[in-house]
Symmetry: C2
Subunit: 204 residues, 2 copies
């Protein structure tokens, strides 16, 4: 039995063939345990995972602002979140801001947003491997984040990420959030995203 099997609420991906454990187990809970810390070593592992992601021509556009609970950076990232996210993300063990560097000395970095996506997925999967969960959010004030952390003009905040230990859904103090937490996950059918021969023709 793995960490994930005894998680408060496992919502394993339903697939036609088995997936690797960390990929199948990953989802984006909101119910986090404020009494479990994310250790410095765990956080470092998440960032190392992001660091070793691939990128176009190894341009490495991904940067992260990082704060553990109790550190000023945590509260400052929390302050940039939309209220709906602050309501649950304040219980995270760490908050991060994923930022793209959009230019280097050769000009605009092609596919910088794609590159940060590759890095962030490594990061959230390493969280699962550490027995933690990670929830990415687009609901934050990018301009406030720019001012708050002195981002240069060529840096573009893309996502906030809450990392923590998963808690019981009922620990969320909002019934709608509890309901949302327990909702089954949904995705397009495989044949709607994987094509062969021509656009729209299912590959499987």
């Amino acid at each position: 039995m793995t960490e994930q099997d005894i998680a408060p609420l496992a919502k394993r991906a339903e697939t036609s063939t088995p997936l690797h454990e960390v990929i199948a187990a990953r989802w984006s809970p909101r119910a986090l345990d404020p009494d479990t810390e994310v250790t410095e070593r765990q956080l470092r592992a998440l960032l190392e995972a992001a660091r070793w992601a691939p990128s176009r021509g190894n341009t490495q556009p991904a940067r992260y602002l990082v704060g553990r609970r109790g550190e000023p950076t945590f509260d400052r990232i929390l302050g940039t979140l939309e209220r709906g996210n602050r309501n649950w993300a304040h219980r995270a063990g760490a908050l991060l801001l994923a930022v793209a560097v959009t230019r280097n000395d050769k000009g605009e970095i092609p596919l910088y947003e794609y590159g940060v996506g590759l890095a962030s997925q490594n990061l959230v999967l390493q969280a699962v491997a550490e027995g933690l969960v990670a929830h990415q959010m687009a609901g934050f004030d990018a301009d406030a984040a720019r001012r708050e952390f002195g981002l240069p003009e060529h840096a573009q905040p893309l996502a906030a990420i809450a990392v923590g230990a998963q808690a019981e859904p009922e620990s969320l103090d909002d019934d709608r959030l509890v309901q949302r937490e327990r909702q089954p996950r949904s995705r397009h059918a495989l044949g709607e995203i994987a094509f062969t021969n021509t656009w729209g023709e299912p590959a499987f």
Copy 2:
């Protein structure tokens, strides 16, 4: 000893704390074994992994065109690659094209490129879990791909992906490629990508 330990050339990420095996073992080889096929089940697992990636508001912008060696789609994707990539990617067991859907009925999908990045990283890590390797390429003719596969206007090809079984570097018939294959991997230092307090201040 895992599949990866006995790979022709392992270039494990060098990190200050251990990473999950599939994340540490993933790199982007060019030397692929043309005699080992990527099975239909393996390919399906890769696409299932992409399917279950997170996306902003579950907008799921990622689509893939998929062809196994011997299928017409394989040759048609190969035909869109730049010559430098065709020279080695023709030995892949499967070729894919990662495409973003940029709009839905609510308008432009925010962060669609980031979303496809998240999905593609799941896909390449599932490849490692299957004992395969995956190499993403930006060097392909996006307009040719649009025409070739009848992509709608709101679909944007972002990356080609070669998937296959790893082979000995020396199987590459170009000395520069052999040398490149054996080159150590390099990344920015952790303190150059993970910040705290303010932009540029190392978090670790």
